[in-house]
């Protein structure tokens, strides 16, 4: 089973690697680049929200911090556009993570719902500071990032592979956390935080790490994004829509799973970019995004993919039941099973 899954993932990765060579069209690689970036963001967000149960609506701030870190580093050290700038990504990620530590310490002191609210405030404070720390960010004028030397359709290719690398890195981390003892502890915190503490888990440290790790990845994503755009402004660096996007993608793909948020990100961002490029809608984003999100939360709170999977498996069960209706003893509920289990020992 896992071998099949691994083989499938390997195949997907191979397809992703050769993809730009098959579809060299600039529009296609552009859509693919954004889809990969947002899938990475959703995957990172899921580490905190999906595993730990703390929904942050402010982690887009770390995307912005990463972007500004890139812009400021390039400016201060007069770094030229080109492959070299990509080496700054881990630095930008670390800077974002460094900001995340004190912010996590403050926001995680509160209960879950107050936490959500504080993270929203966190995003706006970030935006406010970006608008007003003129010496650092040039405020509303924004900053220019170095122009890469690649021209035409070739421009997208290095960015595409960077985004792919970020996605692989984030997904691997997410996968590893999901299977580690650390991840198990996070999920225990999600289910019952007090009890987890009572069974010896250092909930404070676990939550803080789960807060900072996504910030690291989001910082790198932000740096890539704004390097690609060539400029950065406060309202795009600290954009509440990005928070909603990460939540929407994770929820629709399946919160708390490794693959769900990635699939959600690829599909939703891919579709959005495609429609944006073909129909050029502006203000409709907000309405479309909001409406889609409401539909997902209210109709399929477990996510589109898990819901479809559940419908499919119940359909299959029903078919199997009809075929095997001759042997009724098989379906015993867990309650009956447990009592028998308990008394027999």
């Amino acid at each position: 089973m896992t071998a099949i899954k691994l083989a499938l993932l390997g195949l997907l990765l191979a397809v992703a690697i050769v993809f730009p060579h098959l579809f060299g069209n600039a529009t296609v690689t552009l859509v693919a680049f954004f889809a990969l970036l947002y899938a990475t963001m959703a995957s990172a967000w899921n580490i905190l929200a999906g595993y730990t149960g703390y929904y942050s609506l402010g982690h887009a701030a770390f995307f912005g911090i990463g972007g500004y870190a890139m812009a400021i580093l390039c400016q201060d050290y007069t770094i030229q556009g080109g492959y070299g700038a990509f080496y700054l990504l881990p630095v930008c990620g670390l800077i974002a993570a460094a900001f995340a530590v004190p912010l996590g310490i403050i926001t995680l002191r509160t209960r879950r719902h107050v936490f959500v609210v504080l993270t929203i405030a966190m995003l706006f404070i970030g935006q406010l500071l970006a608008f007003n720390l003129l010496g650092l960010t040039s405020g509303s004028n924004g900053m220019i990032l170095p122009l890469p030397p690649w021209i035409g359709a070739a421009y997208n290719i290095p960015f595409y592979y960077t985004a792919l690398a970020l996605l692989v890195l984030t997904m691997s981390t997410s996968f590893w956390i999901r299977r580690s003892r650390f991840g198990l502890s996070l999920m225990a915190i999600r289910d019952d935080e007090d009890r987890a503490a009572g069974l010896g888990i250092n909930t404070w440290l676990h939550k803080l790490i789960a807060f900072v790790v996504p910030a690291f990845f989001l910082g790198m994503v932000g740096a890539t994004y704004f390097y690609f755009q060539g400029q950065i402004e406060p309202q795009f660096a600290f954009n509440p829509l990005d928070d909603l996007a990460m939540a929407l993608m994770s929820f629709s793909g399946g919160l708390g799973t490794v693959l769900g948020p990635v699939l959600g990100g690829l599909l939703i961002e891919g579709a959005q970019q495609y429609f944006a490029l073909t129909s050029g809608v502006g203000g409709n984003y907000l309405i479309l995004y909001g409406a889609l999100f409401l539909a997902v939360i209210l109709l399929m709170p477990r996510g589109i993919i898990p819901t479809i999977a559940a419908i499919w498996s119940s359909y299959r069960e029903k078919r199997n039941d009809q075929q095997a209706s001759a042997s009724p003893g098989e379906a015993s509920n867990s309650e009956a099973l447990g009592v028998a289990e308990g008394t027999s020992r």
Binding site: W176, R179, S180, R181, F182, G183, L184, S185, M187, A188, R190, D191, D192, D194, R195, A196, A197, G198, L199, G200, I201, N202, T203, S334, E335, L337, G338, V339, E341, G342, T343, S344, R345
Partner: protein, 243 residues
């Protein structure tokens, strides 16, 4: 030799004195019982002993270290495990994962490894086997019945191999077969050296199981001693019948 000692514990919630200077002693290697009418402060005392709240005054000492101001995590680290009256498990984790939370070893290396890696896995499986939930190891804990949840909670505490286990109404709301099973498990563990403190409403369960019993009434200790003594203590009879 005494293992856990509570002296003059007092705790008020608003205007109500939940604990009003009660004393309790648990000796190494025994099964101690804690009984009392409804609202006598048993669960409050349990919470105060395990870090889920702070006493207004009084002390709790475990093997000569004061724990009345320790966090639940610290208390657990000293080797005191507990269960809850309203069973607390992790509903979205599987049965085996639940037990692993208790069995879990601390430290960086242990945290980054696969959750099933290491010797703790064996211990988790043993605990699960001990309470008889092995066949349900991959079921979601949230899908278990009430009695099974009690067993699971017990197993996840056991997996940590604590030296003292506090059980809050282990026989509450479960069928008679399960109660007998529970008592047998407790005795078996006790023979292997684990000390118990059991809060219980079910009088016959306590009287049969416990070596010594403490009786709380309105936040005060009104009697303590062997079950045969406590059963005949006029103060106890008055507390139970007088109200």
């Amino acid at each position: 030799m005494s293992m856990l000692v509570v002296q003059q514990a007092a705790k008020r919630f608003g205007g109500i004195a939940a604990l009003d200077g009660c004393d309790l002693e648990v000796r190494e290697g025994e099964i101690a019982g804690l009984i009392g009418p409804n609202g006598s402060g048993k669960t409050t005392l349990f919470n105060m002993m395990t870090g889920y709240g702070r006493l207004d005054s009084g002390t709790v000492t475990f093997r000569d270290s004061a724990i009345s101001r320790s966090s639940p995590r610290k208390v657990f680290g000293l080797g005191i495990g507990r269960t809850f009256q309203l069973t607390r498990i992790f509903p979205r984790l599987t049965v085996l994962e639940n037990v692993h939370i208790g069995a879990r070893r601390r430290g960086l290396i242990a945290s980054v490894r696969h959750w099933k890696a290491g010797r703790e896995h064996q211990r988790a499986l043993e605990s699960l086997d001990f309470v008889g939930l092995t066949r349900l190891r991959d079921a979601r804990a949230g899908s278990l019945s009430y009695g099974q949840r009690k067993l699971l909670e017990f197993a996840s505490v056991l997996a940590a191999q604590p030296s003292l286990i506090l059980l809050d109404e282990p026989a509450g709301g479960v069928n008679p077969t399960m109660i007998e099973l529970m008592a047998a498990k407790i005795r078996q563990l006790n023979q292997n050296g684990t000390t118990f403190l059991v809060v219980e409403h079910n009088m016959s369960f306590v009287m049969d199981l416990c070596h010594r019993v403490t009786v709380l009434h309105r936040g005060k200790t009104i009697s303590h001693g062997e079950p045969t003594f406590v059963r005949r203590d006029p103060a106890v009879l008055e507390a139970y019948l007088g109200d």
